[in-house]
């Protein structure tokens, strides 16, 4: 009888174990919903059209904002997906009561969603580079900052997903959270248009902090050195902290929040 069973099933759980496998699971799941990929771009496209009609000279700023907004709203998809799997399918129990690591489950899901939505985001990024005549360093900065915004939003999305017991409540709150923090602050429009008294707040919000830094690089925003440091260090610090909390929380909530 099997009391000390051999084989690869019994490899001890490694940190982040199962991330890549669950990433591909999520890619397969998401890839069957091609319409969702199209609808993911609706808000950005509408805002780009408005900006182009009202002030075509700001389309470069708006395109950068659209890339950052897209990365940010992937957090909403992580929130919805994690909650749906847990509440509707109870399939999280299937994965978490086994050798797969809880942080691998979270990160695999977030990365899988990113992989599926990367094509439309890359299209927006390509347009931002071409239309805004972005230099290579600015393009790389866009890539890196969008990555930080994605990691922040995905982590927040996963943490929030554990607090809900009903999907209908999630739809309202998630949409409100991600649209308010992604649209109201200066993400699609220049940082200087935002009320000066509220500018420090915008610099502490990851999407608008990233947007302000990129606008500064292309000459569309005048940030003081203090403001630029606040935006950059704030974004990095918030992302690192929220990501670490998400890993801790993923491990903690295997046995309930």
């Amino acid at each position: 009888m099997r009391t000390d069973p051999p084989g690869e099933v019994l490899r001890p759980t490694r940190p982040f174990g199962g991330t890549v496998a669950f990433l591909w699971t999520e890619v397969l799941v998401q890839a069957h919903e091609s319409l969702a990929m199209a609808t993911a771009m609706v808000t950005q496209t509408v805002l780009l059209v408005f900006v182009y009609i009202l002030n075509p000279s700001l389309i470069g700023v708006a395109l950068i904002g659209a890339v950052l907004f897209s990365a940010f709203t992937l957090g909403q998809r992580v929130l919805n997906e994690a909650a749906y799997i847990r509440i509707d399918h109870k399939a999280n129990d299937l994965y978490l009561a086994g050798p797969m690591s809880p942080e691998g489950y979270f990160l695999g899901m977030a990365a899988g969603i990113l992989v599926v939505y990367i094509a439309p985001i890359a299209l927006l990024g390509g347009l931002a580079v071409v239309v805004g005549h972005l230099a290579l360093t600015t393009s790389l900065a866009l890539l890196g900052l969008a990555g930080l915004v994605w990691l922040f939003a995905a982590s927040i999305g996963y943490i929030f997903s554990t607090f809900f017991r009903d999907n209908r409540a999630i739809w309202a709150y998630a949409s409100l959270f991600f649209n308010v923090f992604g649209v109201l602050p200066p993400v699609f429009y220049p940082f200087g248009f935002f009320p000066p008294a509220l500018q420090p707040v915008a610099l502490l919000m990851p999407p608008s902090a990233a947007a302000a830094l990129l606008q500064s690089r292309i000459g569309e925003a005048a940030l003081s050195s203090g403001q630029a440091e606040l935006a950059l260090f704030g974004l990095v610090a918030e992302t690192v902290v929220v990501f670490l909390v998400a890993i801790f929380w993923a491990r903690r909530t295997v046995r309930g929040p």
Binding site: L28, L94, A97, G256
Partner: protein
């Protein structure tokens, strides 16, 4: 240290919610499951079966008590127990936008199995569970029973040393249920150990080597199905459709259940001949049958298994 596949002692769980009185779901459960056994956990709704299974499968913290999986303390080091287990969650569903073949394969890969092993076991599980015909159809297009079969196939394919199955055959037709039973028997002959909950008492009887009945968070009976039947006075029952008028004559043979005009007497095989003689003397029509596990359960628990 106890290295049984599953062992618990005085396991307790109390749910506390703000503004509500605490609910004691487990009130000191002690049990052990031996290597290669199939053990059923029975009880009516809310008895504590799923709470026990969730604690044992590292998905819930106990309030107190000890529980070990292959010697690993589930409360203190759940990560050490997890490689040994696989779970079919209660009301769990496969991903609707995956086909059964994709679901099983990707799950095995997520558990760390190699591509080759995952492929081999996926095909074996598909064939074993009768999923071949719709293995490449999205789960959203499958019936409830087919989805449940996909969940069971996914977990069976792991060949994990200890499997927890929470109502694994719910929604399945009788043929599919028997396929699951055969697969589970096969797994235990290969060395796996199984703890399952079910509301189908015929399933518990057909499948389990031993069973535990849980009521209000406590184990009230443990043993084999035959032990349980014997505990209610016998393994046979004699039904007398017109026997109620002769109640006094039959009451000395064992437990007598009166229902309108009819009588049912639970009796041991040794006293059946004597009882039949009496029925013939009284010119009563009699039918002999086995006491079912459900009847024994009803006598022990005092109400139906699906009664709240």
């Amino acid at each position: 240290m106890n290295v049984e596949p599953l062992w618990s002692e005085d396991l307790r769980k109390t749910y506390t919610t703000k503004g509500s009185p605490p609910v004691e779901a487990l009130a000191g459960v002690s049990m052990s499951v031996h290597p290669g056994e199939r053990v059923a956990l029975l009880g009516r709704n809310g008895a504590g079966k799923t709470t026990f299974l969730r604690i044992a499968s590292t998905l819930l913290r106990p309030t107190s008590g000890s529980i070990r999986v292959f010697g690993h303390d589930v409360s203190e080091h759940p990560e050490r127990a997890r490689p040994y287990i696989a779970v079919v969650p209660q009301e769990g569903k496969p991903f609707f936008h995956l086909a059964p073949r994709e679901m099983i394969y990707t799950y095995l890969r997520a558990r760390g199995l190699s591509r080759e092993t995952s492929q081999t076991r996926t095909e074996e599980a598909i064939e074993r569970m009768g999923l071949t015909e719709f293995a490449d159809r999205l789960c959203i297009t499958l019936s409830g029973g087919q989805r449940q079969r996909t969940m069971v196939a996914t977990v069976i394919a792991t060949q994990a040393p200890l499997l927890f199955l929470d109502e694994p055959t719910i929604g399945m037709d009788p043929f599919a249920r028997r396929e699951v039973w055969a697969s589970l028997r096969d797994l235990t002959t290969k060395g796996s150990t199984i703890l399952l909950t079910t509301h189908y008492l015929d399933e518990a009887e057909a499948l389990s080597d031993r069973l535990y009945i849980v009521e209000r968070g406590k184990v009230i009976v443990s043993g084999t199905a035959d032990d349980l039947k014997r505990s209610v006075g016998g393994t046979l029952k004699l039904s007398l459709p017109e026997g109620a008028a002769h109640l006094d004559s039959f009451s000395s043979f064992g437990e007598v259940l009166a229902d309108g005009k009819s009588l049912t007497i639970i009796v041991s095989p040794e006293r059946l001949g004597e009882l039949m003689d009496l029925a013939i003397q009284r010119q009563l029509t009699a039918t002999v049958g086995s006491v079912t596990l459900e009847e024994a359960f009803l006598r022990v628990v005092g109400r139906k298994i699906d009664e709240d």
